[in-house]
Subunit: 350 residues, 2 copies
């Protein structure tokens, strides 16, 4: 979740998609990888971007070299929405939450007359499209609280197994960028530990981060709500999700809370949006030695989407890239990843 | 940090110890380990406690067995103070903070007239001994904030390299329990990921967790304060420690925040105190399959300390074990670790 507004038509198409078709399993995108002796980034076109990634790894892992980084400090941080998987027309997790508002309102009828729930339930798509990011946060907190952690886990897994993206008619977990999966594996093969830092709720992402990205739940740092210890009717201890916001990853929160959780400045970071990736990418690039801050630019309307004022394209709000951030990237020497030019394939299923 | 009061004489002896003698490095306790084919717990006496640990590992790692746990779910959680290292006469981190109050008061003279700082600065040891755990939290937040994360890191490392425990006249980082280091290594050798869950501030513990315990900073879940993103005078991005409490690990907070950070119920947990380990140990033991909840009992006044009402010993407040918690441990089948009877050695230097 990254911006303070939503594109109206995007939201309409997403809402139109609900309820979703059923599908059983949580799929893992697969594309055969070249052996470790070969090219570990086969979905990347040759060129300066691919070379920059390879050169970063070479510089930081060459023992005795001037920019060698001990294995204990090899940390790489990835935004999720728009960096590892598709974020248009709407952040996947927001679709999940909107889908749950109806259920929630049946359990708590008082919500039917309360904003922003009233608007979502009204079906008034123009009004829904005007909800702010704070409204969205309220919906996320309300729809992801009140149940045990086990029940929430089951709910997320069930939703992921049935929901499909309106454009590709595929489960969301198949809409991950194959070139980025290769970067994750390539970094790990070189002793890096890989983390997700997301504006979305970590509870949601942790339910699929390991099978989809190879990233264990403890390496996912997201916006977080509180948990409450208690006992069920049989006096068995339980943990319940609370609606209280504890860690807010918007704006600079993503890098502030990354330190709170892990106390390390990553050696590399990948992001795409002005609203919560800028400080993370700045901070990483400002570290000593060789650092890699990389910006994924959505400029491929044919294979994925093209959006963002930085390219003179419409500002669709969801995952937007401002001209100012793009200028900062150029000035500070971030690596610019063009989906259109740098990626041979976008998805494993292509 | 675990209790709501402090032992007067303990605090006096600690305060008397300051300022500490200088010492250069952060030492790593070492004791040669038997090869992996031999006994991985050589500092443990033979008996039911050692057998319980070995049996737990066997049951959860035997493929095809009824209680096999996939490697992704092999998580073990350890309290630090009193479980991995000495917590008497006072929690090490509190000694560090008390040591900093004088420096802080020079920077912020207004604190000299404000409680609880006024009491600490007064040198009135009876009054200092009456400070509550909330007073201690206030001192921790005040003395661990206002500086960049790099400055704090340097301060902690410097202190650890110079401070010594009053009884052994050794750096605190040498006062780790050798049998517990062996358990950490043994679990990791069997595919477990090991974590610290502490009532203390994670920022402090993370500065030595890797060299001392083999636990990387991202696997330390402690009481946490906020961080603030900003820029220094040269417009370089910095992260500053704030005095705002974000995660409070006292009472049930330790297991609630463990879920917030990692979203997993550990398969094994080790603790010792009534004030913040009980819920963690209960929750772990209540999971499905074979679980290990283990309680370290301080009953060895000769080699370490003996304290706690559960043994009919004085309640020293610091890391206390109540009779009620001891009864719960027995009733729920936790593994009771007697320092006196189960440990062949307590420290590596013995």
């Amino acid at each position: 979740m990254k911006s303070v507004g939503m594109n109206r038509r995007s939201l309409i198409s997403t809402v139109a998609m609900l309820p979703t078709l059923s599908r059983i399993l949580l799929p893992i995108p697969v594309r055969a990888q070249t052996a470790t002796t070969g090219d570990l980034l086969p979905s990347w076109n040759e060129g300066p971007t691919k070379q920059a990634i390879i050169e970063f790894v070479r510089a930081t892992t060459t023992q005795g070299g001037p920019n060698y980084v001990p294995q204990a400090e090899r940390i790489a941080e990835f935004d999720e929405d728009g960096t590892l998987w598709v974020e248009h027309p709407l952040y996947t997790q927001v679709v999940f939450c909107l889908d749950r508002v109806g259920v929630l309102a049946n359990e708590k009828p008082e919500l039917k007359d309360r904003e922003p729930f009233k608007t979502v339930l009204s079906g008034d798509r123009e009004a829904i499209a005007k909800l702010s990011m704070r409204d969205i946060f309220e919906i996320v907190l309300a729809t992801q609280s009140g149940m045990t952690v086990e029940q929430f886990r089951a709910d997320v897994k069930k939703w992921l197994a049935t929901a499909k993206h309106p454009r590709w008619n595929r489960p969301y977990t198949e809409l991950v960028y194959q070139p980025m999966l290769e970067v994750l594996s390539y970094l790990r093969a070189n002793g890096y530990r890989t983390f997700i830092a997301t504006g979305g709720s970590s509870g949601f992402v942790r339910e699929y981060s390991e099978p989809v990205y190879g990233i264990p739940p403890e390496h996912v740092a997201g916006t977080s709500q509180a948990f409450k210890y208690g006992y069920d009717k049989d006096q068995r201890p339980i943990l319940t999700r609370e609606s209280k916001l504890v860690l807010d990853n918007l704006d600079a929160g993503k890098i502030e809370n990354f330190w709170l959780m892990y106390a390390q400045r990553p050696q590399a970071a990948f992001g795409n949006s002005s609203s919560d990736d800028q400080q993370m990418l700045e901070y990483v690039k400002a570290g000593t030695g060789t650092r890699l801050s990389a910006l994924v630019v959505h400029d491929d309307a044919t294979r994925e989407y093209a959006y963002g004022p930085a390219q003179g394209l419409p500002d669709t709000k969801v995952g937007t890239l401002s001209q100012a951030m793009y200028d900062t990237a150029k000035k500070q020497g971030w690596t610019i990843i063009s989906m259109k030019n740098d990626w041979k394939h976008v998805f494993a299923f292509e």
